[in-house]
């Protein structure tokens, strides 16, 4: 029994590793063979950024069970902090970027702490409104501050994370996913999930619910900050309006469609929903229509017997299996 479980856990880790390595090899082969044109390569980093954003937001919505509409706010903090560092520093690229990532993540995490506080008192719709307000306040502050260059935003940010640095971005994405996956499957993650399932019972077994709520916001904001830094150095310019509530909702849509509490789902949904609008560019007039149709198909798929069937099938099951489904009968 014990052995069986270990073997299963080992197998799971092996499959994860295999997927990661295969994806990377595939990308490298396609790139070096010149099979990916400009349109595709320019999508790689944005996909990775959205994956990090979705997976980190899932920690709050899927695992803690709170609705947050301020994720773009955390992202913008990371982006601006990171960009200001690399613009004003004169050091080797790797040093600048490392510092930018750490500082961007840390400052965003600090704001996660600040916004985590009201969470202790609010939940549900009220929290959604507070986080929404937070995102908009950050935007206004970015517009009114001198150091962020107001509404004009920041220009000439060094392009450290274009598709040419896809290896680095890929590694950062994998680290982010693994870190969050590992947190979820630990005593800390169980505490977070238990708050979602029943916060009064969580208190009653000696877990400090407030502490874990704040902790979840801090962790989630940290990774959103990292995603922001990657974004800033991918596009080279920052405008406060990029990070409005539409961006937050876009991330939330990815999480919801991927499945609350399913990290794999978030990853897959982030890939599809980032690539799709670009790939549909050829279909111009029908673009938004097709996009909407795909959203509906994914939604139907999520609630269909087909998914259930796939879940019971080993090969596909591994791909879509979410945490909650694993524990079912």
């Amino acid at each position: 029994m014990e052995n069986l479980k270990k073997k299963f856990a080992g197998k799971q880790a092996f499959i994860n590793l295999a997927i990661i390595v295969l994806t990377y090899v595939l990308l490298t082969v396609l790139m070096s063979a010149g099979l990916l044109n400009r349109q595709y390569t320019s999508l790689l980093v944005p996909i990775a950024i959205n994956v990090i954003l979705a997976v980190s937001l899932n920690l709050i919505t899927g695992f803690l069970g709170e609705l947050s509409l301020g994720h773009a706010g955390f992202m913008s903090i990371g982006a601006y902090v990171g960009a200001l560092i690399t613009i004003n520093m004169d050091a080797p690229e790797i040093v600048e970027l490392t510092l930018a990532l750490l500082a961007g993540g840390a400052v965003a995490a600090f704001f996660g702490f600040v916004i985590g506080m009201p969470v202790l008192r609010l939940n549900g719709d009220y929290l959604a409104i507070v986080t929404l307000g937070f995102g908009e306040i950050i935007k206004s502050v970015l517009i009114s501050m001198k150091i962020t260059n107001g509404a004009k935003g920041l220009q000439r940010i060094p392009l450290y994370t274009t598709y040419k640095s896809y290896t680095l971005v890929f590694i950062l994405m994998v680290i982010s996913i693994l870190a969050i996956m590992n947190i979820v499957k630990s005593r800390h993650g169980r505490a977070i999930c238990s708050i979602r399932d029943n916060s009064i019972a969580t208190q009653s077994i000696g877990i400090n619910v407030s502490r874990f709520k704040v902790m979840t916001f801090v962790i989630s904001a940290f990774f959103a900050g990292i995603a922001g830094v990657l974004y800033a150095h991918n596009v080279g310019i920052l405008k406060p309006t990029t990070f409005d509530y539409n961006k937050s909702i876009e991330i939330l849509v990815i999480v919801v469609l991927g499945g609350m509490g399913s990290i794999r789902g978030s990853v897959i949904a982030a890939i599809i929903l980032t690539a799709l609008p670009e790939l549909l560019r050829g279909a111009d007039d029908f673009r938004m229509l097709l996009y909407a149709v795909v959203l509906i198909i994914i939604m139907l798929f999520n609630h269909s017997k087909i998914k259930e069937g796939l879940l019971n099938n080993n090969i596909f099951g591994k791909l879509f299996k979410s945490n909650e489904e694993k524990v079912g009968e």
């Binding site: 630990s186 009064i200 019972a201 969580t202 009653s204 077994i205 000696g206 877990i207």
Partner: protein, 252 residues
């Protein structure tokens, strides 16, 4: 001094005096019953003892430690665990994880350990699995530890809640109608289990119950509440034959 000393405990909800001048003194390892008609204030007493509501008056002392003003999670860590009248399990977690969550303060490792999957993580998780299965075994739930909690039948959910409370390593455990919804066989098993955990896990038990067979079968002492006040106390057989108690239950 007794394990749990409660003096003059009381709470008002607006104009309603839900619990008034409640006193109880429970010894180590004692099996204590709290009975009374619907709406008497029994569950409210539990909520006061476990910090869900702050008492309007009175004092709660556990093992010499004053618990007044402590939050619910601090009170659990001080040694009072409980179950709920309306079962409150972690529905989406497995049976095993429900219990492991309650081991949170027993077996620890840092957040960094969980992110980096250090040896400390694996060691602690293994110890948690072992401890949790050991507790589940007492309730016959070890064989279905991979099931989702919400998929268990009602009686098993009640048992799982007790198992989870027990995992917090309490000095006293409060059971709110543990036999509710159980059939006579299950209730009989439950009585054996309660005795077993008292003997083997070194806990005192305070339980609310409407099933008089259970109360008479295992409680060494009982208190009867009506309209928030204690109307009788002492030996279970004597108490249930007390005319005051009979009228409280049956009406005039």
């Amino acid at each position: 001094m007794a394990l749990l000393e409660v003096n003059n405990l009381g709470i008002s909800f607006g104009g309603l005096r839900a619990v008034d001048n409640f006193n109880i003194s429970i010894e180590k390892g004692q099996l204590y019953g709290l009975i009374g008609p619907n709406g008497a204030g029994k569950t409210t007493v539990f909520n006061l003892l476990t910090g869900v509501y702050p008492p309007t008056d009175g004092s709660i002392v556990l093992d010499g430690v004053n618990l007044n003003g402590k939050s619910a999670n601090e009170i659990c860590r001080a040694g009072i665990a409980r179950t709920f009248q309306n079962i409150r399990l972690f529905d989406k977690l497995t049976v095993l994880d429900n219990v492991k969550t309650a081991l949170h303060n027993q077996i620890k490792y840092s957040l960094l350990s969980s992110i980096l999957r250090t040896p400390a993580y694996f060691k602690a998780e293994k110890a948690m699995d072992k401890k949790a299965l050991e507790i589940l075994k007492v309730f016959g739930l070890d064989r279905i530890h991979e099931y989702r909690a919400s998929n268990l039948p009602y009686g098993m959910q009640r048992k799982l809640e007790i198992a989870r409370a027990l995992a917090t390593n309490p000095k006293i455990i409060l059971l709110d109608e543990p036999a509710a919804g159980m059939n006579p066989t299950e209730t009989q098993e439950l009585m054996d289990m309660i005795r077993f955990i008292r003997d083997n896990f070194d806990v005192a038990v305070l339980l609310i119950e409407h099933d008089m067979n259970l109360v008479l079968g295992i409680c060494e002492q009982v208190k009867v509440l009506e309209y928030g006040r204690i109307i009788a106390e002492g030996d279970p057989i004597k108490v249930v034959n007390d005319p005051k108690v009979i009228t409280a239950y049956l009406g005039e």
